[in-house]
């Protein structure tokens, strides 16, 4: 343990003295939070507009649109009931629209399922925000109107009955993004550097084992990610008054995600020739994952093919798990994603633990 702690300390000192490393671990996530928070969490003009065609035009449908307004993320604008909605969207260059069917009230009062249809371009971040907000409002509506029976679709997800803001949905994504980028990019580079500069060979002349070295890196990055998360959380809470919470499950997910991506970085680092190649390989793996795994908008809002792809990306489970526990208080779902993350992490860890050799061939 003494050797591991000594290695953690030495690695940490070097990391923090590297301004680039410290920037991406601490400052960059804060900049993202401040930037996106400022864009989406300000006054009414910064809300995502959603055009609602209320074919029901009934007290219950009015309650539902009021619930949409109450999310504070959306600004509801009415569409006349006469025109066909797709044509109206096309003619008016609308990004996101919602159609409430004519039988909305009748079905709600009869406690039957009713579909509200969200139209929009899933590649637009505003669509993701709108989808999440509509889902939240629908669930809240179900709670209050139908005693939690899901009569209004598209969501069946249980959420706390709170006013969600964009920043609350965004914070878990940025944490997931940070958990991906720092260990993945860092370890790919470190492994390449240690091999090309013969640090591995030098370390092999000490009592430190390969496994201890790997564990020390996971400990360091876990510590770093928890500190980074705490700072991001504080900024979100103090600057934007967000309501997302750091739960024990979130901490477990952050540590498991760090374990997973540190291991993935080690794997990439095993096979790259130098630090320049390491950066390119880490970017090639990391960047698509950033955007496809729901860091900036929920995976459910993506086209089916991309959703299928997202389901095989390990970051997806970290992001979705963090959102479930931090925003919706759904620890059961988060626990499932935690399990998936740990399993993937163990598999990814075994590969470098077996393949990494400090000895010369």
């Amino acid at each position: 343990m003494k050797r591991i702690l000594a290695d953690v300390r030495a690695f940490g000192v070097q990391f923090m003295r590297s301004r680039i490393g410290a920037f991406f671990a601490i400052a960059f996530p804060i900049i993202l939070i401040l930037l996106f928070g400022a864009i989406f969490s300000g006054g009414g003009s910064q809300k995502v507009p959603i055009y609602v065609q209320d074919l029901s035009d009934s007290p219950e449908s009015h309650n539902f649109t009021a619930a949409l307004n109450a999310t504070t993320v959306l600004e509801v604008r009415a569409i006349p009931t006469g025109p066909e909605i797709l044509q109206y969207i096309s003619e008016n260059s609308i990004n996101t629209a919602l159609r409430i069917p004519a039988d909305f009230q009748a079905k709600v009062l009869a406690n039957e399922t009713v579909n509200v249809t969200l139209y929009g371009d899933p590649t637009q971040s505003s669509y993701g925000i709108a989808y999440a907000a509509v889902s939240g409002a629908a669930t809240q509506f179900n709670f209050t109107v139908a005693r939690a029976r899901p009569v209004v679709i598209p969501t069946t997800e249980k959420i706390a009955a709170r006013d969600l803001r964009f920043i609350d949905l965004f914070l878990p994504g940025v944490i997931g993004l940070t958990v991906l980028t720092n260990p993945l990019f860092g370890m790919t580079n470190v492994c390449a550097e240690y091999r090309t500069r013969k640090f591995f060979k030098f370390l092999a002349t000490t009592r430190l084992s390969k496994g201890e070295w790997l564990v020390s890196k996971i400990i360091w990055y876990s510590f770093l990610m928890l500190v980074s998360t705490a700072i991001m959380f504080a900024v979100e809470r103090l600057v934007f008054g967000g309501i997302a919470v750091i739960t024990p499950m979130a901490i477990l997910l952050i540590v498991a995600g760090t374990f997973e991506f540190t291991s993935l970085g080690m794997i990439l680092g095993l096979y790259v020739r130098d630090t320049e190649t390491a950066a390119a390989v880490a970017n090639a793996i990391g960047f698509p994952m950033m955007f496809l795994a729901g860091s900036f908008f929920p995976v459910d809002t993506m086209p089916p093919a991309l959703q299928a792809l997202a389901r095989v990306l390990p970051l997806t489970y970290v992001n979705e798990g963090l959102r479930a526990t931090m925003v919706f208080g759904n620890d059961a779902k988060a626990l499932l994603y935690l399990g998936i993350t740990i399993v993937i992490g163990v598999i990814l860890f075994i590969i470098p633990a077996k393949a990494l050799s400090w000895k010369s061939k």
Partner: protein
């Protein structure tokens, strides 16, 4: 062999089409500076890395501090210090931090005074608080030696410790290596600098193409292969050579200088008198004792410059 710290018998390391180490035998006595000398690619580093437990041999036997290097190296790990070839320190650690860190990797906790003592021994006291990336080439090697000494090892491997350093830095490091010997450490020094081996080593093995081509103390090697003294008639050229030949004095020409080789030291005075009596235009006459360079030239068949054999 009694007192042997390292024993190597029939050691081989083969790759697909290369015999990097081709059946070598040697032993290193406790307290000696043993030098493996040879050009780049001779097999020095491969041999040393096998002895450091960093590379598995293909065949033969190698024992370090009584332990077979294939198994049980963990038992002696903290009795062996290593400065790898092309050593570079961790850029953002200060020397005092690097020494403390390396000691912890041997399960040792050094006090501030002990760290200061280690740095003082290698002449880095004034640089103890500088980030390692700012150290000069010589200072970095000194730090590497300091790190290799934190476990207070009995045996220290220094793999080409002065390569790439300027002459002053090289000589500084020589002092440090002599200091290790004076403290009773056994040192295995690989180098391609002939003068370095001649100055430092008690025992020299010249390697070429995976084999040890000769072995002994520098004096023994010079006596055996180089032999004697050379009288140099600087600038005598072909005319001088012809004049000496006419007097029956065997000589050779090298770069415009005429060289007269004298095998026995007792004959030098007489030969000098004979040469001086010949009317030859010279700019200078001096004697040159044979060196390891001459030995190397003779046993390898080529000169070596910066580790590369001359054509």
């Amino acid at each position: 062999m009694a007192g042997a710290v390292i024993e190597v018998r029939g050691l081989t390391k083969h790759y697909a089409d290369v015999k990097a180490v081709d059946g070598i035998d040697f032993e290193v006595r406790a307290g000696d500076i043993f030098s493996l000398l040879g050009p780049n690619g001779a097999g020095k580093t491969t041999t040393v890395e096998i002895l450091e437990g960093l590379r598995d041999p293909t065949g033969g036997e190698a024992r370090v501090l009584g332990v077979d290097v294939r198994k049980g190296y963990a038992k002696i790990r903290d009795r062996v210090g290593v400065l790898p070839q092309d050593f570079e320190p961790f850029d953002r650690l200060k020397p005092k931090e690097a020494v403390a860190y390396w000691a912890a990797l041997f399960d040792r906790t050094l006090t501030k005074k002990e760290i200061a003592d280690v740095l003082e021994r290698v002449g880095l006291t004034s640089r103890a608080d500088a980030q390692s990336m700012t150290l000069s080439g010589g200072e970095k090697r000194r730090l590497g030696i300091a790190m290799s000494l934190v476990g207070d090892p009995d045996l220290v491997f220094l793999d080409e410790p002065t390569t790439g350093l300027d002459p002053a830095a090289r000589r500084d490091l020589w002092g440090l290596i002599r200091d290790l010997k004076s403290r009773g450490k056994t040192v295995v020094l690989t180098t391609h600098y002939l003068d370095e081996a001649e100055q430092l080593a008690d025992d020299v093995a010249i390697m070429n193409k995976g084999k040890i081509v000769t072995r002994g103390t520098p004096e023994e090697l010079i006596s055996r292969h180089g032999g004697g003294t050379t009288i140099v008639l600087a600038g005598a050229g072909k005319e001088g050579y012809a004049a000496l030949a006419a007097q029956g004095i065997p000589a050779s020409v090298d770069n415009g200088n005429v060289l007269v080789h004298v095998a026995n030291a007792r004959d030098v005075r007489g030969m000098l008198a004979k040469v001086a009596a010949v009317d030859v235009p010279v700019t200078e006459i001096y004697t040159k004792r044979s060196s390891l360079e001459d030995v190397f030239m003779k046993v390898v068949g080529a000169r070596m410059q910066e580790g590369v054999l001359a054509e």
